[in-house]
Symmetry: C2
Subunit: 361 residues, 2 copies
């Protein structure tokens, strides 16, 4: 059991931006909300998966929408708790613990925020181990937990409960509401017991965000090479294989907000005129150099500014930025055949088969 | 109290098509479903508003979607009851009575169908007194009842509960789901007590459908002028002013399915080359002749084939049809200032003010 206090939020936000692999939204605004919630209500208790009882009720919470919208349309203070409360009211049971469904990006903050606002503890785990664009792309779904019933809340206090037997259809139907909620909804989902959470969730991902953020912060403070230090730190975790893919300058950027997603690609060119092309759908999905595969989802592609090693989200990419592209291996729970069927290349319409990043050039 | 049996369904369906004013969907398929439900479960008990107790729980039920889609995508047998059951489960209370929210079109059948399937009685009343394209366009909303919480169900058994404080926003958010449910959802909405129903509902509209249908059927059987007989019959109801607007041939038809609605206009030309132009959004909204207003919403515009006086829905309009256009005054509960603000001309973006059809040429 650890406590998450004000002093931890910047590190978690920084690490979550890294794990966000370009997506999940910049956690900055959500971290400001969470700062205020903790300042008013005190630190949040976080338990590891093996510290929770089998019969507790856990909700996975976060937001659902387009990161490009989130920059301008700020979540209402009551909006995330409204989703939790709506799901509790519908079930007739209070949640004992909150959990992230997405440790990457701004959704990293939502269980902390909700836990502070509602006076509940949280679990150090999530369902994505990074960020993904669609709600069925979680280990929860892969290993048999259902997203339903789940609640969505708008900034107007409007709430909806969806009860949908298939999580891909849940994503499709939920997105229909989310788009009309202005591409920004708070969500409480995947109500499950502790026993299920231990089986289907990726352990330790919120504290991993904190470790990544702390590592980057210390490297900067001590003027060490932040990339080398981070690769070294990750080698001791279940995200063991990390490497630098490419160094260069953003020379092309195509981006549109479509169907509630930020979709596009970025081209990075180095001084030898070699180019790395990275496609994204909210998150970076695939990196190719001269048509050859370098990294592919669910392995992580992270683009950081070359000087400060600040991870850059897709909506903050700009022509001319000097960037370093890192690749990180996803944990084994995310690389099983069942997992790859949901959020491997095929889940995004990519034709390449998955190849672990440690086996690629 | 009356019983609705198999022998009543054709008359109700025919009258509902007339009250549908071109919209609400052709009740034919829904009447076949209802026929089977009554054949299996027996006649449905229908009470008038003044026969129900103040403290009963009433749901308004029907479908939500695009009539053009309904021709090809048939509702699942369990789909309408699934919406009622989902709302009951969410509220933790069973509905005592079902009611139409829209007496016109295929929605006329849904409370009868659900009542037969679920073994409940129904109330002889509705919220539209005709058909309208949007769910907030009901006297329920006008006089202060809330649509929420309401349930939508898909043919997959998926259900959603929406809890939205504003009924126009409920329409907008609900439509987002409905579109993704394939423009065809079953709905249970406006949970209200009997006392509220007596205040906000339009009385007698299901039995009015039956009277209209029976009147048309008898005229045909007896070879009388069906239009004169119908105008005479309506003069004794709260839809007192009915008249023939125009006789002619369909000479132009523009139609598209957009945002889940059937939108367009039809032009009818007579032998003197005069033309009546009728705009529709699911239902006929406004009729103009040489740019002059002849009838405007919420008064009813009904297009019938000239020979059999069969009402024609917008999706069944065809070039070359010989038609008779009738206008009918809406009941006074639908013509108050509050009602006109919701489903008068302004509710459809029309710039003309409402003028009662009895005061127009």
């Amino acid at each position: 059991m650890i406590k998450i206090g004000l002093e931890d939020l910047d590190d978690i936000a920084l690490g979550a931006t890294f794990l966000g692999t370009g997506g999940g939204g910049d956690p900055y605004i959500a971290s400001l909300m969470t700062r205020r919630a903790i300042a008013e209500n005190g630190p949040v208790t976080m338990l590891s998966l093996d510290e929770i009882d089998d019969d507790v009720l856990v909700f996975a919470c976060g937001n659902m929408g387009a990161p490009t919208v989130a920059i301008e349309k700020i979540m209402g203070a009551d909006q995330p708790p409204a989703a939790v409360l709506a799901l509790e009211a519908h079930l007739g049971h209070q949640a004992d613990l909150l959990m992230a469904f997405e440790a990457g990006g701004s959704n990293s903050m939502m269980p902390i925020y909700n836990a502070a606002m509602l006076g509940k503890p949280m679990v150090d785990a999530d369902g994505m181990g990074r960020a993904f664009p669609e709600m069925q792309m979680v280990t929860f779904s892969v290993y048999g937990a259902s997203s339903s019933p789940f609640a969505l809340a708008s900034e107007h206090g409007d709430t909806t409960i969806l009860d949908i037997s298939d999580d891909k259809r849940a994503e499709y139907l939920g997105r229909g509401i989310v788009i009309r909620m202005g591409a920004r909804s708070a969500k409480a989902s995947f109500p499950m017991d502790g026993k299920t959470a231990k089986r289907v969730a990726i352990p330790g991902t919120t504290s991993l965000c904190q470790s990544i953020g702390a590592n980057l912060r210390q490297s900067r403070a001590e003027n060490r090479d932040p990339f080398a230090a981070l690769i070294d730190m990750l080698s001791g975790t279940h995200y063991g294989h990390a490497k630098i893919l490419f160094n260069g300058k953003v020379t092309d950027l195509i981006r549109e907000t479509r169907d509630g997603w930020a979709i596009g690609k970025v081209v990075i060119t180095d001084q030898q005129d070699a180019s790395l092309e990275v496609e994204f759908q909210n998150e970076f999905l695939v990196a190719r150099q001269d048509g050859k595969l370098r990294t592919i989802v669910p392995d992580l592609i992270c683009i950081l500014d070359s000087e400060m090693a600040q991870p850059i989200t897709t909506e903050r990419l700009r022509y001319g930025q000097r960037v370093t592209v890192m690749a990180v291996s996803a944990p084994s729970i995310m690389r099983t055949e069942a997992a790859l069927a949901i959020f491997g290349p095929v889940g995004f319409g990519l034709t390449e088969p998955f190849v672990p990043v440690e086996n690629l050039p």
